[in-house]
Every structure is written in structure tokens, then in C-alpha cells.
Amino acid sequence: MTAPGPPPSAGPSLPVEAPPQVPAAEPRRRLHPLSPLLHGAKTIAVIIAALSWQTLNSVGFERFALVVLVLAIGTVVFSIVGWLTTGYHVVGRELRIQDGLIWRRNRAIPLERLQAVELRRPLLAQLTGLAELRLEVVGGSKTEAPLAYLTVRDAAALRERLLELAGRTQAAAQAPTGPAAAAPSVPALERPLLRVDNRDLLISQLLTPQAFFLPLGIAFVITQTVLEGSWTFIGIASTVTAMAGVLLQPVRRVLQDWDFRLARDPSDRLVVRFGLLETRSQVVPLHRVQSVRVTWPLLWRAKKWLHMRLDIAGYAGEGGGDSKRSDRLLPVGEFGTARALVWEVLPGVDLAALATTPPPRRARWLNPFALRFLGAGLTPEVFVTRSGLLTREMSLVPYARLQSVRVIQGPLQRLLGLATVYADTAGGRSGEAKDRDLSEAWALAEQLAVRARQARQI
């Protein structure tokens, strides 16, 4: 903290600091002073979960509370030390983040590699008016540099600024553009695209296998309690906790996807907002969308509903199922909505006019039931593949985002003269044209390679 600039916690001074725009001289900033407390609270919750009901039962409440208290103080002290040593600042077209007490880490994130920026507000952060800023960069095994926590205003301004820097070309970056850095987000100019009705979301999550099993689970607990009087509160509580992990997934989805809104911001980026307890708002530049997947689950067929996900590079390495990833494009909706949305996200692609051809008849030896639903097609903008008997899926890969093409032929496929073509993207999932006729597979691969090149040159 050598710079004579404003003190780190002075959030409101943001518009003032724009005029003296010397990139290197920007002071290092700290995260919000409340962040260690919030981090500590999170860790304590994890610790309590790890200690579990069994421990509470065996050691008694007072001792349990004591252990938790000691650990709580420990984590808060640890978090404060972490907070003191963490800082960030923007230098030129890089975001630099320092952290670590013993192993100092100084990380520079080139902003032209930025894929998406997300603003997350867990429940505690919402109560305190804070937010976490997460940057997605390619090549990171997990989300790089979550800046937790900043005030909402700071976070939004920083996000706008980072995206501004990321979108600019090298030549433009050299020109002094003072106002750009100072311009805060202008939410009023956003063009809303879509809002998912919460009632639809609720119904859609009731139409999942887990929701059908939930009554069974509850019935199991009740009968156990009634039949065996020996069941204590602890016993019931631990059973419920154990079952909650699996059976409450629909509930989690409802909480996460609550109040789902999509918009286009003035710079033509996609803004996705959702969540009830933890709100997330994610900004994705359209050219960072690696692929779009459309899914028609079995139980939603009566309603003619579908859901859509989009793949962004950088989320690929982050496993952990769908709770951690923010890859929703449409949690639930009708075909018409989806069609309009795809037109927005992948300009020129009409979901209703994507023709696919099925594999040859002899592929039925490998896919006795699902043959009718397999297919692949080359449309002018995207590579389309379909699959799935019960849960039908369709994946759209824009040619410009193709990373590599693979043709793979297993022993059984060789007997039948078939091969599978994969179109790899940086988003993790590949478009997969299963069991094509061999000569057609070669032609597909060649076409994909050629079209990928042409799409890039425009």
C-alpha cells in the first residue's frame, strides 16, 4: 500500500479516481472488511456438518459447543490473516491478485482470456450487502480468483470495467480511454429477453424422479419412528440429513433457478440472473458460448417442456455436478421460448429448422432402441447432434468454436462399417455423431474441419 490513492475501503470514491489514469499506479485494493467473518461463518458450517449428529450425541451439547467455539475463533483469526494479505488491482489489461501469508502468490489474469464473469451473493452476503466476483478463465482447473467479498456496487463496477477491458482490442487499449473505466453499469439499458415463471419451475421440478421418491423417503422415516419406539431425535435427524443429499436435489434446483431472468446488455452480452438464497448474476459475451445443449426429459413430455444449458470454457474443469456450475440458459420452457432464445444466443440458428439425418439401418445392432433418435447434421452455422431414447438431447456446436475433430471406430463398429465423429469444444462436452457410415464419417470430419476454418476467417 504505497500509492497515495484513496484508502482501500473507500468505495464511493470510485468515479473520482478515473481522471488520473496511469495504469501502473493504481493502488492495490483490499476486499471488504467483513469478508473474514463471512468466510469464517462458511467454514464453521462445514465443520459442524463434518462433526455430524453422531458426535453431538456422544460428547454432549456443552462440549460440542465448546469445540465449535474454539474452531470458530480459529477460523476467524485465520480468515483475518488471509484478508490482510489479499489484495487486487488492475494493471493495464491484467487483473492482479495477491494472496497467501507464507506462500505468497501473485497471480496475473490476462483479461483478453476472460470467458465470463459472475457475481454471486450467498444468503449471508445478501444480508450484509456484499457480493463475490468470480472470473472464468480458460485453463483453470477451477474458477480462478474468486474475489470474496466486495460491496455490490464495487463488484458491479469492477465487473463492468473488467469486461470493458476484455472486450477491447489491443490497439484500442493503447488509446487513453478515461471515461470507459469510470462508466458504471447501466442496468436500465438492458433489454430483457425472458423471465421464467416460478410456478413453471416448481412444477417442472416436481416432475423429476427424485420428487417421486421423496414421499417414499418420508414414509420410510415415519414408519421407522412409529414402529421402533427406540428412534431418538438424533436418529431421525441423521437419517433425514443423509437422505436430503439425494432427494432434495429438486428443491435445490428450485432455490437456485428461482426467478430466472435473461437479458442482453448494451454491449450485446448475455446477462443471466437467478437464485433465491444465493443469487447469481452472470455476464457472458456471446462469442464465449462454446455450445448449447437442449434436453427434453421424459417426465416433462406431457408439458412439452425442455431445458437448455450453455457451455463456457473455464467451467469445464469444475466438476461437482450442476449445483456449482452456472451453465443454465433456460431452466424450463416451451419450444417457442427456446427457439427465440437460441436465435438470440447463436444468431442465425433456428431450432425448428435443424435437420439431422439418422445413422444407417445397420447401426441398430449397436442401438437397438435409440436408433430413431440418433442423428447428426451440418447446418450453415452449427453442427447438430441428437441422442437419447428417454431423455432426448440435442447439442449445437458453432463451427467457430470447434477445437478439434475426432473419428473413432471401435471393434464392433468396424465389423459394421460404422464410426463415431466427435466435435470437441473447450466447454467440456463434445458434439457426438454416433455410428455414422464410415465414408460419411470421414466426410463429416473433413467438412467440420473446413467449416471450422471458414467460420474463423469471417
Binding site: 483478453e112 482470456r113 480458460v138 485453463g139 464465449r288 470454457a313 469445464a316 474443469g317 439425418t357 451440418l378 468454436r401 470447434l402 477445437q403 478439434s404 475433430v405 475426432r406 473419428v407 473413432i408 471406430q409 471401435g410 471393434p411 468396424r414 462399417g417 464410426a419 466427435y422 470437441d424 469444444t425 473447450a426 467440456g428 463434445s430 464410415l438 465414408s439 460419411e440 470421414w442 466426410a443 470430419a445 473433413e446 467438412q447 467440420l448 474441419a449 471450422a452 476454418r453 474463423r456
Partner: protein, 169 residues
């Protein structure tokens, strides 16, 4: 599918316009040595077992091991011959695999970085492996068994072509 579909043969996977380069046949020796070492270790284990117990089952085990080793040796020789790569103007093609045949097409423009590696055994025979990485996890463009000169030529060519072309994503 407007383009004429070229007549393809299962054994010659790409139209003849592509010039496939084989990998060095010294790779066969390297692969055989590394497999042979494992074979010898296992064989020694079985023979020790036989000398201690004298049961006939151990001899049967030796027979199975020998048959398996011979079969693997044949497979190895054929697998190395099946490796091939081709540098086209704008992309690199790599094909390999016998049981499961794989062909990868990686445009130079999508390259993120290139690895050149050589293990101790490979080095003893003057070989190196070049691997091309893209942002997609699924891409596999790995060419083993290249003479060092060829490996560095390929690496330089790949990086030079990669630099010309965009950011890769």
C-alpha cells in the same frame, strides 16, 4: 452433405490426398522393452512361486504369460505401424489404434501449447514425443516415436503456425 463423399476403405482411413508419415520403427523396440520388463518381472514372480510350491498350476501360469506376451508383442508391433501423422496446410492429422481406431484433426489455430517429452528409454533410442494441446479436454493429438530433429521441426512448425492464427478460442 453436398461434397462428393470420397470412397473410403477401412484400412486406408483418409482420402489419398493426405500424405501419412509413419513414426520411427525404433519405437517398436522401445515399446517391446518396456513391455518385456513387466513380462520378466511377472515371469520371475511366477517361477519363484513354482520353485516354492511345485504345483502344476504355476507352470500353467507361465504358459499363459508366455502366450499373452507373444500376443502383446504382435499387437505392439502392429500398433506402432498404425500410428501416423500428417501435416496439412491448416491442420494436423493423427491416427492411431488397432482395436479402436482413432483419427484426430486439430487445426493449428486452436493450439494452446506443444509438449515435447522423452522418457529415459526413449532418449536411449533417440526418440521423443510431441503432443499438441488445445483448450478442449477431449482432443488427443500425440505423436510418439519421433527422432529429435523431426520432433523439434514439428514443434517449431506447430508453434509458428499457431502464432499466426488468432487466440485459439
Amino acid at each position: 452433405m453436398t461434397d462428393p463423399v470420397p470412397a473410403a476403405d477401412a484400412l486406408e482411413p483418409w482420402p489419398d490426398t493426405v500424405e501419412w508419415r509413419p513414426v520411427s520403427s525404433k519405437l517398436i523396440t522401445v515399446e517391446l522393452i518396456s513391455r518385456g520388463t513387466w513380462f520378466l518381472v511377472l515371469l520371475a514372480g511366477v517361477l519363484v512361486g513354482w520353485s516354492l510350491q511345485g504345483s502344476r498350476w504355476w507352470l500353467a501360469g507361465v504358459a499363459v504369460l508366455v502366450v499373452y506376451a507373444v500376443w502383446r508383442a504382435i499387437i505392439t508391433v502392429r500398433a506402432v505401424r498404425a500410428w501416423g501423422y500428417a501435416e496439412r496446410d491448416l491442420d494436423l492429422l493423427v491416427r492411431h489404434g488397432l482395436l479402436i481406431r482413432r483419427l484426430s484433426i486439430v487445426p493449428y489455430a486452436r493450439m494452446q501449447y506443444v509438449d515435447v517429452t522423452a522418457g529415459p528409454l526413449e532418449r536411449a533410442f533417440g526418440l521423443a514425443t510431441v503432443q499438441l494441446h488445445t483448450a478442449a479436454a477431449g482432443s488427443d493429438a500425440r505423436v510418439p516415436g519421433l527422432p529429435p530433429a523431426e520432433a523439434s521441426r514439428l514443434r517449431d512448425r506447430l508453434t509458428a503456425l499457431g502464432e499466426d492464427r488468432a487466440e485459439g478460442l
